[in-house]
Amino acid sequence: MNIYLEQLPQQLINGLTLGGVYALIAIGYTMVYGILGMLNFAHGEIYMIGGFTGWWVLHLLTRNNQVIMNSALVISLMIVLAMAVSGLVGILTERFAYRPLRNAPRINLLLSALGVSIFLQNLVLTYQGAKVRVFHIASLIPQDLRVFHVGSTVFSFMRVMVISVTFLLMALLTVVIKKTKVGKAMRATAQDIEAATFMGIDVDRIVVVVFLIGSALGGAAGTMVGLLFTQVDYYVGFQAGLKGFTAAVLGGIGSIYGAMLGGILLGLAESLAVTFLPSAYKDVVAFTILIIILIIRPQGLMGEKIPEKV
């Protein structure tokens, strides 16, 4: 038992990092669900595209294993460009695959989303190949900064960076939703899309904004996971998408704060599970949580307490 207690702070840190990333992915699901009531299967692929964008930015800015700019600038560029590209892909999928089906039966929309997912995944497979891309982060962070110890717990620079960026993005999103005009329009549209139209809100534009924000956050998550685990391939979106969705459901789909909470809880649960179980079963844990939650509390942890959904 002692050995577990010793590992606990370490696992908490790991869980928090992972959880933050899941939360970012979950937000994309939950926002789209809140507005359109649809499950965007393709969200995982958008995350994957974010990962690839990050890899390409790093790759193009590296010469002879040395980054050609300030590391902070490179990391910011990676995240910002990943957000931009993912956001763009998100908008395009909405425009071409979902908007024509806005009034169609639900199963058609789901099937179209499935199609987008397959298409994007295999698009990347075709043009980027199946091989795993490795992020060469060695040159990005000076050796003496890479890890630091507090007691027996190891903090890596990357983890701290990921946690900070994640929470910064979530805080920004909260401000946008709470304080801005577009945020108000988003909340109204989530409540009742028709009534919002009658009140003069351009719903199509709001849907585009929602896809933009959700996809951009997914893209940021993709790059940050790349930086953390130093690799990305065409297939990572599938698992990540499922995890993000699990997080969204755990927190109560439709609720943004629920998604944040659900992501962090899922991350913690997974890293704590790894101390007890072989790591191959880490994903089994996540999906079992998902199935159990759906059966006993389908509205999620925060499904009722926070009626505000976007």
Binding site: P105, N108, T126, D283
Partner: protein, 631 residues
């Protein structure tokens, strides 16, 4: 989706109604093709493709039951396929040295897979559609992870390497070993699944699924046990997938985890979508096309999966009914109601009066039934609390047999909520409801219908893409019992039931004269006029053999002439046919002429009860409608 399924339905009804000689010729051609085909394949490679095509057809048809008929997005379908495959692999190989005969393993695999399907489905089927998708997707992932990792500490699945080298199939001394034998075996299975699909689609089960897809709440309120029916579709899909997995494992003589990957799932979905969800012929064609086409496009293999994604997106946006959707020569020749035998156009008014006279002649008109004093429905202290707002508050009343009782009250008085409580759509927060002496409180709507209460909806909830006839036939669902086995085997009991269903439904539709019969019989409900839709709602409720009818604003939206007609009809329903009727109505002249008694509601409370004149003169009622006079 609704649209395509309907044209599909039309096509298949047409196929069934062909003269039997035509059908025999069709069967003969199909049989000859299937017998010859394996022998005309140019080489063993193409023979293999041919056999695999049969397997894909079988898989696609199974998925069509779940996704097409019942409209459930089942993403564990290929995992079920894998479960079947692995069950065969474990029970008929050297892996555990169990060597059961194929004839035992095949049903065992199918039934076990179905069991797993039921277990998974029963946990998630009451959830909304997309949750089911996610639960099944998660199950598929868990399944694959287990396949990959259960090779240690004990080797069960063989991990990445899979399991291979199975016992050869031996069916009563008939050895299935050659490629030709497999081709026959697998195509035989595919043909059986296809025949079963056709049968089930044309049965009460198929109509039940179609109704659920059209409008789940209305289906439940018309007596279809929606949870059970959805579970049945889910289990049926799993059954076919399990059997297909078993055949596949034996054919390939090995099973690997990536035989049952997400890719295969997408391919099967593409086949079903390409053919049109629910369209059996279409799905077969879709499966054949997508099995063979890639062989010609092999040099573009890298784009294969990408194009499957595109197929899904493009079809959903532009042609959700699939490629076979509108092919007209398959559908029955439409009777032209507006032309006589010589092809001369006739005025529609002629048609109307002609058939009305005919109906009037046959209809009995003398009054046979009156209000009795036996209590039929009793509500005791019913309260419905919507988070603090009491839509119905401590309401009690009785309804006598063969009585016409009207509920009146201003908007928001709780009239429709009262109907929802009686018909079981909401369980009441407090209180009890008795029907013919037995409690029905908290019954699900389909059980309420079964006990003899049927309703109509204020804002019309017909199955819009189903024909008039089929709409009414759905009403018979709760009076028929044929399960999947008797439908698939076409047992006499099922045939009798279907004949009875058709006869009763026709009788009921004929009560409405030309409004719902004649050429309107096969018309989709959405093409009916507003007043006729209201009539069809009543017909559908009558078809359930209800003794108590709950009519929610039967004359809403009707013009004065139609209102007079429907008022007379409601009177006939009681006087001539002896139905007990509880009716919500706003038009007071209708209320006056039909009701034995009237109850006025306001804010969920009964404010007056008695004869029409008593209630209409009641001060509280006048205040509820018009407000209080200024003092």
């Amino acid at each position: 989706m609704n649209y395509e399924s309907n044209t599909a339905a039309a096509g298949e009804v047409g196929a069934v109604s062909w003269r039997s000689s035509n059908r025999l010729i069709l069967y003969g051609v199909v049989a000859i093709l299937l017998i010859i085909a394996p022998h005309v394949m140019p080489d063993s490679y193409w023979l293999r493709i041919y056999t695999m095509t049969g397997l894909w057809v079988m898989l696609a048809l199974g998925l069509n039951v779940v996704a097409g008929f019942a409209g459930l997005l089942d993403l564990a379908y290929v995992a079920f396929f894998g479960v079947g495959g692995y069950i065969f692999a474990l029970l008929s190989s050297a892996q555990f040295d169990i060597h059961l005969p194929f004839l035992l393993v095949l049903p065992l695999a199918a039934i076990c897979t179905m069991g797993i399907g039921i277990a998974l489905g029963s946990t998630s089927i009451r959830l909304k559609g997309d949750y089911l998708a996610i639960v099944t997707l998660a199950f598929a992932q868990i399944f694959k992870l287990l396949l990959l990792n259960l090779d240690s500490p004990i080797d069960i699945t063989g991990g990445v390497n899979g399991i291979f080298g199975f016992d050869p199939i031996n069916i009563f001394g008939l050895h299935i070993a050659s490629a030709h034998a497999y081709a026959y075996l697998i195509w035989l299975a595919a043909v059986l699944v296809a025949a079963g699909s056709f049968r089930i689609k044309a049965s009460r089960i198929g109509r039940g699924w179609e109704a659920i897809r059209e409008d789940e709440l209305a289906a439940e309120a018309m007596g279809v046990n929606t949870t059970w029916m959805k579970l049945m579709a889910f289990a049926g899909g799993a059954f076919v997938a399990g059997a297909a997995g078993c055949l596949f494992a034996s054919f390939q003589d090995s099973v690997f985890p990536n035989n049952f990957d997400f890719q295969q799932l997408v391919i099967v979905y593409c086949m079903v979508i390409l053919g049109g969800l629910g369209n059996i012929t279409g799905v077969i064609v879709g499966a054949v096309i997508l099995s063979i086409l890639p062989e010609f496009l092999r040099e573009y293999g890298a784009y294969r999966m990408m194009s499957y994604g595109l197929i899904l997106i493009v079809l959903m946006a532009l042609r959700p009914q699939g490629i076979m959707g509108d092919i007209s020569f398959l559908s029955r020749k439409q009777k032209r109601p507006d032309k006589d035998e010589t092809g001369r156009l006739r005025a529609s008014t002629d048609l109307y009066y002609e058939s009305r006279d005919h109906a009037a002649e046959t209809r009995q008109t003398e009054t046979q039934f009156f209000k009795t004093n036996r209590i039929m429905l009793e509500l005791k202290n019913i309260t419905q609390d919507f988070g603090g707002i009491k839509a119905v508050n401590n309401l009690s009343f009785v309804l006598h047999e063969k009585e016409v009782l009207s509920i009146i009250g201003p908007n928001g008085a709780g009239k429709t909520t009262l109907f929802n409580l009686i018909s079981g759509i909401y369980p009441p927060t407090q209180g009890a409801i008795y029907f013919e002496g037995a409690p029905i409180t908290g019954f699900k709507p389909h059980r309420v219908v079964r006990s003899g209460i049927a309703r109509t909806f204020q804002n019309l909830r017909l199955f819009n893409n189903m024909s008039v006839f089929d709409n009414a036939r759905v009403g018979r669902f709760c009076r028929t019992n044929a399960g999947p086995v008797s439908v698939l085997l076409n047992l006499p009991r099922h045939r009798r039931e279907e004949q009875e269903t058709d006869r009763k439904t026709r009788e009921i539709l004929e009560l409405f004269g030309a409004r719902l019969t004649g050429y309107r019989f096969d018309q989709q409900a959405m093409f009916l006029s507003y007043a006729n839709r209201r009539r069809l709602e009543i017909a559908r409720a009558l078809a359930t053999d209800a003794r108590l009818l709950l009519l929610d604003e039967p004359s809403a939206g009707m013009n004065p002439q139609e209102t007079i007609e429907i008022t007379a009809f409601i009177k006939t329903l009681r006087d001539v046919f002896g139905y007990t009727i509880l009716v919500i109505e706003h038009k007071l002249n209708v209320v006056r002429s039909i009701s034995d008694r009237v109850i006025a509601l306001d804010y969920g409370i009964k404010i007056a009860e008695g004869s029409y004149d008593e209630v209409a003169g009641n001060v509280q009622v006048i205040e509820a409608y018009l407000g209080r006079k200024r003092q």
